[in-house]
């Protein structure tokens, strides 16, 4: 078995890399794939919190690299889905504790046993980024429809293009607010794609449920009623090669919105 190593990166912080990693990982595992999530944000780890696995971590990626344990011992199994594993980052060290070669070696070893290896990249373009990208053959660039995030994403895409190992990279536009796009207060997804001239893998709407799911330690894809959760499920399907139409993120959420939309349709007809 040779799995694919996908790095999830953005350049800018706070755009939702870790949320995306946790949700895509959970979604891929729900579809029956064997998935391992690697947190490379050493010193500022968060992925374990989002998955609710904070209390289960005994060994971290630094312990593996420094040969205090075997790689399999350091993989933390998810509470619900046995197909999903987490390789946590150490909180008490910094990015220099792991080198790019060591991470590549870990990815190559994991490739034999897993279908998908998702690498959660830290913000920035320094050592942490170089480590995370080292073993990857695919990349998902996360951005939000803001100028600052787009500029950073552009820089990241430039760096990814320079890497021969990264075969393809795709764009994920996060925290999209259809209401603001309608009033021309936010860039539309089409604009973002045009600026970055990059393939799109998904559009995730802004969802307040993400905050509660983060605090609870349960990825939002487990909530079937959530629009953001559905969007992440679709991204996972596209990663697996299925052709899924983009979700209509301008869906009415509340009852009043539904009534409004119903009547506006009638008028148009």
């Amino acid at each position: 078995m040779t799995g694919s190593v996908i790095v999830i990166t953005s350049g800018k912080g706070g755009v939702g890399k870790t949320t995306t990693s946790a949700n895509i990982g959970t979604a891929l595992a729900k579809d029956g794939n064997k998935v391992v999530l690697i947190d490379t944000d050493i010193g500022l780890r968060n992925l374990d919190l989002l998955l609710g696995l904070e209390n289960r971590i005994v060994y971290t990626i630094v312990d593996v690299v420094e040969e205090r344990c075997k790689l399999k011992q350091a993989l933390v199994k998810d509470k619900k889905n046995p197909n999903l594993c987490l390789l946590a980052a150490a909180q008490t060290r910094d990015k220099s504790a792991v080198t790019a070669e060591q991470l590549k070696e870990i990815c190559d070893t994991l490739k034999e046993d897993f279908d998908y290896i998702l690498v959660d990249c830290p913000a920035g373009i320094e050592q942490g980024f170089q480590n995370a990208v080292a073993g990857a053959n695919e990349a998902i660039v996360v951005t939000t429809p803001e100028m600052s995030a787009i500029r950073d994403a552009d820089r990241i895409i430039g760096l990814l293009e320079a890497k021969e190992e990264v075969e393809k990279y795709r764009l994920l536009v996060n925290r999209v607010r259809p209401n603001l796009i309608k009033t021309n207060d936010m860039m539309s997804v089409e604009d973002v794609v045009e600026i970055l001239s990059c393939d799109l893998i998904g559009v995730i709407p802004e969802d307040t449920g993400v905050i509660t799911s983060t605090n609870k330690g349960e990825p939002i894809v487990n909530d079937e009623n959530s629009l953001a959760g559905q969007a992440y499920m679709n991204v996972a399907k596209r990663i697996q090669g299925e052709e899924v139409p983009f979700l209509d993120i301008d869906q009415p959420r509340t009852f009043i919105e539904k009534v409004k939309k119903f009547f506006s349709k009638k008028v148009k007809a």
């Binding site: 904070e54 209390n55 008490t92």
Partner: protein
Amino acid sequence: MNNDLFVIDLSGCNNTGEIITSVSAAFEVPEAKERKIGLKLNDITLNQAQMISIQSLIASYASELSYIETPNEATKNICENMGINAQLCEKPQTSAQAEIAFEIPKTFQGNGEAESDNAQDFAGNNTLEFQGNGLNVGMGANGEMPNSGFEEFKPNEFNEDGKQTMETYKKAYDENEEEKQTWEEVDYYAPPTDEPVIVDSKQTIYVTQTLRSGQVLEFDGNIVIIGDCHPGSEIKATGDITVWGVLGSIAHAGAKGNRDAKIRALKMNAVQLRIADCYSRRPDGTNIPYIIKSSTFIPEEARIVDDSIVLFKIN
């Protein structure tokens, strides 16, 4: 080091815990650092281990415990065995607020013989109520009157020296230790060997600061933390761990295989507890915020019972 004696009045303290908190609090006064320290104790019996704890606490502030005044004869004998000048005094009055004549021998000079006849009385007008805990801090300087700048001291203000880093603590102990053990090479999670590892229970480190995410405190001995331990930090000790605050991090007691080690905290919210080769984790869904605003603390103690870690309430 300043040869003048700095006297801490502990006659309001009735147990070791109170003494330790009072002494730590007294060291927030910058004048207390790097000088000889005198303690005025209540009628309590302290054993040698407790005396060493107090001594090492004072040593961590670069000061030296050189004089003890106690109404208890057993305590006095132990102090003398340890090479500390000790003197018997009368039992203090029952009221903690009572003004006690505080006597300091005039000819007292480091190792010199104490002579109580030439004592100077400077209680009353020169003692300062310290945080209202019944702790009085006075200052004696070979019979001279205390420094007048002392009154400007504010208890809640931290001076720069008070914020010591972990490295400073560790360094201070590394220098003192004659037999430096290779602590880095130990496999913390390894099962205990056939031969039990005897931990020197005398070695104790005191940390008076909050442990934040990413900070690691390792010590070959016991650790006492006066402050909170936030999630993401780690405490490793070969002996016991005591947290005078909220324990919300990973704590590993008896790291070299001492299964009798214990972990105590005023509020136990640890992500993981490890004692020797035993491991336990916090139940899922109990991620209560680590800063507890209410004052309801339930002190708990973790120890090994039949190969698993059990929490006991401390009364």
